[in-house]
Subunit: 432 residues, 2 copies
């Protein structure tokens, strides 16, 4: 099935002022959407990181993509996945996902692989998870993903939106936020983004969440904001709250930091698993992480681990070493949500409810027919070929035009933090 | 694509009296061929281990297979691959491949996966390696696989065959054997089956092989026949001969034995890689093997590692830990050869020429049109859907009838050794 055209759409979507240790989300999240068109006019789609660089990386491959067979292309481009990022590079600690030079070409590969699989699936009537070959679940569970946030729902100027959550900078408002999310989406597990307020406040936030939702596994992710000592202190304070399906995600920076936290907690008889999508972001990090027992739950993400099949391979690797698997998310629309759902459905070792930012990007959508349904906290695999969704080209055009009008060309949470919160703010690791 | 029928053919094929540390090959190798028939009459095929037990294991799954969708079945049967053989079980050292209880259900799964992929490939016109998704080579290189052997080409009674190699129980006759194989098939690399004669004779055999074919990487595989001390002695004696693309395969038994050999050789400044398909036969062996640097080359085999996708996953795991990958073989026909070729084509980390017994099973074939071509030592991926081969049903019927007439129901090299060479022979590890 020959590919005769590729199109890249750089989009901007309203994104609320969410806080994390990286800083503050800009009023727009950026996404690129890739279309691969077959000679018989079928279109395969993928959604990936936004801004000019990912778009240019895709466009630079045009000569290798156009004219290729969709069934062969994922093999022909394996050089983008294999042999990159040799050696251990810790530079990623300071990068937001999608900005890590270590996985630049695997990110590009992933978008092309996803679009090829969608194209093949649409042509054959086969869901992507069945092309991947080991669908072990028909619906995939996602977690509520509460953030500390300022008021508003993203956008700026005349395009500024409100959201129903308002400002949430206290434990109580986070509990309210989660309750609203649970009501709307039926989420069960809770993944809480920390690294923003004093650890004592964040401890109190988790405690209040567990009081409000005692049966729901809870996780906290401060994105490396803490020292080893603080991490252990939090682990001790939240020993009970993070048990029974919860975990402590990237409390301290780097494989060494994580290993030290693990050792410190185990010495105190606390075996809360440590999860990571910052200390461990690529296959080449796994040997050292395993040797040092640094990470007990890896957060996969097909967007930056080199695609869906690489995530399946990561799953097997983790399973072999007794490591659990969860799924990382970034701000995204419905095409990414469906891709995440398909790869999760076809990855046996994925045993945690996945992360998703999707409820935060609710102001805009490019999927024909509107937002992908999350019901009972789950996204179902549609009984359709490919990812199971098509593009709404009016919305693509609107968001592409929006992209041309805004000044943002890459994610920069620090700049946004300086602009709206503190002109002197610098991302500092560890902060506490 | 609904599967409406499954058929299992138990076959016997003439097999020459090859020697190994397991004993002596019986006059017939046993194979089972699986057919999965779709509602539109397309037939997907696979070849697997022979005899009654593998056939019964497949037949026992009939209710889960018939009525299932070929695209879904590999997901629905994942329980056969996942969660089996937990814990480290070393019992496999004494078992021939295909008899190891540790991978009984992954073996069954593999045959079904292969037949599903062939069925899907034939229905869509897509080669299996492109269904697997990462074809990185269009032809796969195999090695010459010399064995010490007695005279004859297999079969017995009125069905007894001759072969052109005759008796080969000396270094000189092995060199002659390899020369004939190279002439016929164009093989480059040499994988020599040892563990049969005194190690001094086997050392001399490799030395003569390297004198005759100095540019061809050489390996020796005594199937765990040696003590750690003997293994180190051989490693020292063949330091130069096994360098440059060669390896020492399963010299001593078990992960501990292999690790001790490795340590001993490294202490002498010899870094000849150790390969294994005996000490390491399943994912659950990998952590201990890696921790102890026991094996530097894993021999994959989709027939017993749980199928083609599991081999791809094994490849990534090995690559991640800096372990090389080669491919194991057992006595087989053309359907297995094609399956091995497809999975090898779609496994980037497979960097050694693969093993194949195929030249030894040259008296019989079930592939329509006759034997699969090995040219320049390579098997090419056909430009056809699925595995690229169909069954010759006359030959299937002939070999199935033969199966009903012979007394052999499972491979037993020890019994054959007692019958023809030494009534008191027992497989003893280590022997030297």
């Amino acid at each position: 099935m020959k590919i005769v055209d590729m199109r890249v759409h750089s989009l901007a979507i309203a994104d609320p002022p969410l806080r994390s240790s990286y800083g503050l989300h800009q009023p727009y999240a950026l996404r690129n959407v890739l279309e691969l068109v077959s000679e018989d006019g079928i279109v395969g789609i993928a959604e990936t990181y936004g801004g000019d660089e990912p778009a240019n990386a895709l466009k630079a491959l045009r000569d290798r993509v156009v004219g290729a067979d969709a069934w062969r292309l994922t093999g022909l481009l394996m050089d983008l996945v294999e042999g990159v990022g040799d050696g251990l590079d810790r530079s990623h600690t300071m990068h937001t996902p999608g900005e890590n030079p270590l996985d630049e070409s695997p990110r590009t590969y992933s978008a092309i692989e996803t679009a090829c699989l969608d194209l093949i699936g649409k042509a054959t009537g086969v869901p992507v998870c069945d092309l991947l070959g080991t669908r072990v679940r028909d619906a995939v569970e996602f977690s509520a993903y509460p953030f500390y946030k300022h008021a508003g729902g993203g956008g700026e100027g005349s395009d500024a939106r409100e959201d129903k959550y308002g400002e949430c900078l206290t434990p109580e408002s986070i509990v309210r936020q989660v309750r609203m999310m649970k009501e709307e989406y039926g989420f069960h597990d809770i993944k809480f983004k920390g690294g923003v307020l004093d650890p004592e406040v964040e401890i109190e936030t988790i405690k209040q969440l567990k009081q409000a939702f005692p049966d729901c596994p809870a996780r906290i992710d401060p994105n490396s904001a803490w020292t080893v000592e603080t991490s252990i202190k939090v682990g001790v304070a939240l020993k009970d709250e993070l048990a029974d399906g919860g975990y402590l995600e990237d409390p301290a920076a780097g494989i060494d930091g994580m290993a030290a936290v693990r050792k410190g907690l185990l010495a105190l008889g606390i075996d809360t698993p440590l999860a990571s999508n910052v200390a461990v972001t690529a296959f080449q990090h796994m040997p050292e992480s395993i040797r040092n027992d640094a990470v007990q739950v890896v957060l996969c993400d097909h967007h930056f681990w080199g695609g869906m099949r690489q995530v399946q391979q990561l799953g097997k690797l983790c399973q072999t070493f007794g490591i659990a698997l969860s799924m990382h998310s970034n701000s995204h629309l419905g095409v990414s949500l469906m891709a995440m759902t398909h790869v999760a459905a076809a990855t046996p070792n994925l045993t945690y409810a996945c992360d998703t930012h999707y409820p935060w990007q609710s102001a805009d959508e490019i999927v024909a027919g509107g937002r992908v349904k999350i019901e009972g906290g789950k996204v179902a695999i549609p009984d359709k070929g490919g990812l199971g969704v098509e593009l709404d080209y009016d919305q693509v055009a609107r968001l592409a035009e929006l992209y041309t009008k805004i000044p943002y060309r890459k994610r920069d949470d620090q700049a946004e933090m300086r602009k709206y919160v503190d002109p002197a703010w610098t991302r500092k690791l560890p902060r506490w």
